[in-house]
Symmetry: C2
């Protein structure tokens, strides 16, 4: 596969997207922070299947990290990322500098409101304002027809959908299934932080979710029982600190007590110094 | 002049703008809250001169009014507004319902940051979040090439320019001069609230600004002297309560002590129950 066109400038990116659209082609955009794994590449593949042209963005966005978090050490390898994207048929990669995205004097921030408050928002209070603002910027810089996000960051998909609807951004949000390793762990760039021992312990997240999924498939509709199944698997694993387990109405951040409609069970935990999140749909 | 096309739906508005652009025409958008006076119409005229096609928006935006303010009694007359817009050559008018702009569940808000905090932002703490959010929505619903705003709402122009730059909204912001009555008072839909007596007293705002302008033209560069000239004219008028007078670096909300570059002197006052604002450029 050819190497994708690498673009660093905002105007050139918008022009690339618009020229494709003027030629009658549909364009998909895949926002990423780089450090690409098979999960990201599945988004890119979905985009190449669903659109005539695909642009990925690679930008480690400082405003969605708290000062105590891993912005500095977040893995970066643009050359390797561009090659992977080219291999799955991505046409262009927008990789701006922090200065281009946040020039001196930039002060605007998007608050998506109630869906950004609980769970990840409670633990990372500035995170979703950073996410919403950078995603709005990226979707305006690369004004594609469809934007692709992963189910693994479930609350992010709820926040992005809410923002896109509320601001009348003219783009379709597509959410793609979580990609897992053979043993069940959800793909995440942050898995690279785990020691071999932590990697083993981290299995309890997907195992707990799978247990809840099994109970649901067997007819259990009491959310407290489903939460308890996931909680037990995670909390019983040494070196893993459960942060939350929640059963939510699918597409929302509303907790449900009875699963009488499609739902999502979501968990977050600390494994050593690394925060991991995961979720499965109950439908 | 023909009556402009009246559009109530969001999708039809975007389609109208995009079809003009696909035909190779430039489009201007003039966001208004209706109750149109010669100031608004001067924006529409500038748009018809600067663009091939013009769409105005007429929407009294509830989120930029505080509960104590005049949302309910704000003047509304869409038929008269559409006729006036048609008479100056506006092609289309987008006049949505509140429900179309803010469907149930809408929670997203845009905070433009420091330029939205002082002066109007200090007196009306929720105002500019409402303005920024609705302007972003309107510019995404009517994705024109240029958007026209009046200098009379100076801080609003600073907030809108900041937001457009920070979110990478692909539109040029054009700011047009304040239009005044023969006696100097700045045109404002809220002038309609003034009694004959209040209307006379309200003259002190533009008179105070004119006095500062005269001093500046005569070489005065000390901002405190310019502020004092405006303050004296306003504070000495019975029934008028001065809220602020500020000398700002042009294009910013930064107060200056010495006017050694283009600046703006801005005032706000209460005349009876009516808040009025005005400003002049010192350049």
């Amino acid at each position: 596969m050819p190497t994708p066109l690498l673009i660093h400038e905002i105007d050139a990116t918008r022009q690339w997207v618009r020229e494709r659209q003027r030629a009658g082609e549909t364009v998909g955009v895949v926002p990423t922070m780089g450090a690409l794994h098979a999960g990201h590449l599945s988004l890119a593949e979905a985009a190449t299947k669903g659109c005539d042209r695909v642009i990925a963005t690679v930008f480690v966005n400082p405003t969605q990290f708290a000062p105590s978090e891993d912005f500095e050490r977040y893995p970066r390898d643009l050359e390797a990322d561009a090659k992977k994207l080219g291999d799955v048929g991505v046409d262009a990669v927008f990789a701006p500098s922090v200065e281009a995205m946040y020039p001196p004097g930039a002060t605007t921030s998007i608050d998506v409101g109630s869906v950004a408050r609980p769970f990840e928002g409670a633990i990372r209070p500035t995170h979703f304002a950073g996410v919403a603002t950078v995603v709005a910027k990226l979707l305006l810089i690369a004004p594609a027809d469809r934007a692709y996000f992963g189910q693994k960051d479930y609350q992010q998909t709820v926040v992005v959908r809410r923002m896109v609807a509320d601001l009348n951004l003219p783009i379709e949000v597509v959410v793609c299934p979580t990609v897992r390793e053979a043993d069940g762990i959800a793909m995440s760039s942050r898995n690279a932080y785990l020691s071999a021992d932590e990697r083993q312990r981290a299995l309890c997240l997907s195992q707990g979710l799978r247990e809840a999924e099994r109970l649901h498939a067997a007819g259990e509709r009491d959310a407290s029982k489903l939460r308890e199944a996931a909680r037990r698997a995670i909390a019983s694993t040494e070196g893993v600190e459960l942060q939350y387990v929640a059963v939510l109405r699918d597409g929302t951040m509303d907790e449900v007590e009875t699963v009488d409609a499609p739902a999502v069970i979501a968990v977050a935990a600390r494994v050593g110094q690394t925060r991991l999140i995961d979720n499965v749909r109950l439908a």
